[in-house]
Point group: C2
Chain length 314, copies 2
């Protein structure tokens, strides 16, 4: 079991009603890796600049993350994102994006990265996602994307979607990508392009999973609420932590991608996302322990189960 | 077991992207009653005008609904609502509201209505809700409301909230009522006013249940997704059908309001709401059969269950 993820490895500046950070470790591949490491060996792929130093490499390596495919570009600057959230923490407001070394990124996967069993293409330009996909024959692959690429690179994104097994998008993006306002129809339209599974992220409302059994064609639906939290400080990276928990767990169970495991993966994704938002950036997930994950996973199960048989009447 | 509901009994004109109706039976108490009738004896309370004729009474009575407390006001006109929905079916746009006989409504419950075991105060002016509550000593009571009353009659609404066991509101309304952006905190703030349960309706995302055990003070959280539908034609009344399924089921199990039954009630509420939106107004729920409800209830259970123990590794 081994998982390769390509995506941004970055620094973020974030302000929310509950505090701010001027410069913290961030990026989709970073959040994803810190979540997935609990379940499998993770290898992030992506470029960083001179400003990404031993401190950052050590933080990742100390948590078992393989950093050989993080490409340090001399004289370059790492991807930087500045954003803020107001009263509604579901909406991120971007104030600045500096691509830095990501602007010239030409992915070249190492032998180890190519040999992964599972591949996740985090939100980057879809042509880059396809380049990475073509270098890695992983048995299970997924991608994330965003409204920007639907707007300016839709054909390329559609081609990338057709090349993966599982698409993870916000529900509004799934509607936008397919032009279908009904989510169940929109998810079916995505699966008609190739993927056998679609995860619709719904922010604080949780996530829904649409699947089609590759053997029988049988369709299934599953949904989980977001884990209820009284203190949400910074939602940045929650979707990437979700994907890290989801694909990390699935890589950990190896070839056994049945419906039961896909549903458990939704549970682990939900749990990792919930820890992510409790503090700023990677702060909470960086010092998370596996026992905390499993405890919250069981709590989530208790919050979503109900009994089928009516109670006896008096 | 007997359930009294007070609320609008009305005619609606509705236009959605999928069709329109110029005049159809509507109103919160109507939708609620048509959903609750599968589980218990329902008695809607409210005024109608001369335009509410034998056809409407017979539709309700033929489905076991007790119409004695529907007050026919000679020379009056029934409550009328005109609205439309665009691409986003979660947002109702009101084009016209005519209170008609509802403007002069002074609730006087019959002996039978007063003797109910369960009382639901659908969305009306909160002083009216309190008048009804004071006439009925039901062992379990609930209320719905809307942003209008939070704006113009907040003190009265807070007093009404303190007098019921269960509050059913949209999540945005719960936040607005309490001034608390975090839903878990907002629900706790509502329970601190008196109710032992808060249902947060979340449109197509489903509904969440916050409870506090009256004996132990133990808090619990439960959530269900909306039932996935490929054809949603008219969401009008979905929240009232949810409440009808929820309170109807609970009245049916009588005094046994434990967590397991509250969760099952959430399931029945979700199922009734899902049938409601499949066609216009009361069309679908009017010809619904109990077997269809139970079949969808079990389907909902299958869509929300997941196993706790990890699969064995290969």
């Amino acid at each position: 079991m081994a998982l390769t993820v390509v995506g941004s490895i970055a620094f973020d500046a974030v302000k929310t009603p509950f505090g701010e950070r001027e410069r913290m470790l961030g990026g989709a591949a970073t959040h994803f890796s810190l979540a997935a490491r609990f379940f499998t060996e993770v290898r992030p792929v992506g470029p960083v600049g001179d400003d990404f130093v031993a401190e950052q490499f050590e933080l990742l390596e100390a948590r078992g993350i393989k950093t050989d495919d993080i490409e340090r570009v001399a004289g370059g600057k790492s991807f930087f994102w500045r954003g803020h959230y107001d009263f509604d923490l579901n909406v991120a407001h971007t104030d600045d994006t500096q691509l830095g070394v990501f602007g010239e990124f030409e992915p070249k996967l190492s032998d180890a990265a190519q040999a992964a069993d599972t591949l996740f293409l985090a939100n980057i330009q879809p042509d880059l996602q396809r380049q990475v996909r073509s270098q890695c024959a992983a048995g299970f692959s997924g991608l994330d994307s965003m409204n920007l690429w639907i707007d300016i690179a839709k054909d390329s994104l559609l081609a990338a979607v057709a090349e993966v097994d599982c698409v993870v998008l916000n529900d509004a993006e799934i509607r936008m990508l397919t032009g279908e306002s009904n989510l169940a129809r929109a998810a079916r339209a995505v699966m008609a392009m190739g993927p056998r599974a679609v995860v619709a992220k719904q922010g604080e409302y949780g996530a829904a999973l649409f699947t089609k059994d590759p053997a029988t064609g049988e369709e299934s639906f599953f949904a989980l609420p977001g884990f209820p939290l009284e203190d949400v400080r910074d939602p940045t990276g929650a979707g990437d932590s979700f994907a890290g928990g989801f694909f990390g767990y699935l890589d950990g169970v190896d070839d056994d991608l049945d419906e039961a495991n896909l549903r458990r993966a939704m549970g682990y994704g939900t749990v990792l996302a919930s820890f992510n938002v409790e503090e700023f950036g990677t702060e909470r997930v960086s010092r998370l322990e596996r026992a905390e994950i499993d405890e919250r996973f069981e709590a989530l199960r208790r919050m979503t189960q109900f009994e089928g048989l009516p109670a006896p009447r008096d």
